[in-house]
Symmetry: C2
Subunit: 113 residues, 2 copies
DNA sequence: TCTATATATGCAAATATTATTATATTTGCA
DNA sequence: TGCAAATATAATAATATTTGCATATATAGA
């Protein structure tokens, strides 16, 4: 199983709007750096930095094609994560049954000290 | 639907080892601050700070029980996200079919310029 | 009313993240 | 061999996050 540390790294890798866009794009297929430049409104070095972070975290990888670097998805959690963050949740989780909202409530299990 | 921006914020809220642990614990049920102190190796003010961040992002909420604050999960994406990051993926995504690894490869689609 | 308990808040220091700019590296091709 | 394209790296600056510490607030109970 993924360690806590690794789980957090994947979340961190995705916790940036530009990187989510990069990953969504990679979901469609292999892309090289200049492809990203076309639709991300950021500088080339910045694209490279985000890509290299994603690679450091093991989320993506690339292969060389002449002077292009062709990036592709590597971590299998990515497609699932993208599906999840796009999912439409209708409502909040149900408040715990006990929840009194007033200040008189009782903690749902025995307190421990 | 929640905006991508909001979703990224939730990911950011979760992208910290302490907060992942807090959320995993909340998945089991309502907990008050001192419950967290028992297994997180951080100070009480720090626990409170993480909790208040999670609340600011709409991920959790609490109700009062005397002088206890009983925290619970609110954003329905959380259980799904936690399940996902704990999931055990056997292998990496298949490398793109074209991938030559050598430096002779051709970009899988027509290059655009 | 006084005290102890549970928790939050404010602020500063340490650290991390992001974007920017300048420069370097690699490779294809003339 | 030399130049331009594609991309990376490094240094910096701006900003955000995280933590520790001191202190504040609220409430239950004596």
């Amino acid at each position: 199983m993924r360690s806590i540390r690794h789980r957090v790294e994947v979340l961190k890798a995705m916790a940036h709007p530009v990187r989510v866009q990069i990953l969504e794009e990679l979901l469609k297929g292999v892309k090289c750096v200049s492809d990203f430049e076309e639709f991300l409104e950021i500088s080339q070095p910045n694209v490279s930095q985000h890509l290299s972070l994603l690679r450091r975290f093991g989320v993506i990888d690339y292969y060389m094609d002449g002077r292009l670097r062709c990036y592709f998805l590597k971590d299998p959690i990515v497609p699932d994560l993208i599906t999840l963050i796009k999912k439409d949740y209708i409502k909040e989780l149900p408040a715990p049954a006990c929840c009194p909202v007033t200040k008189k409530g009782k903690y749902p299990r025995e307190r421990r000290r």
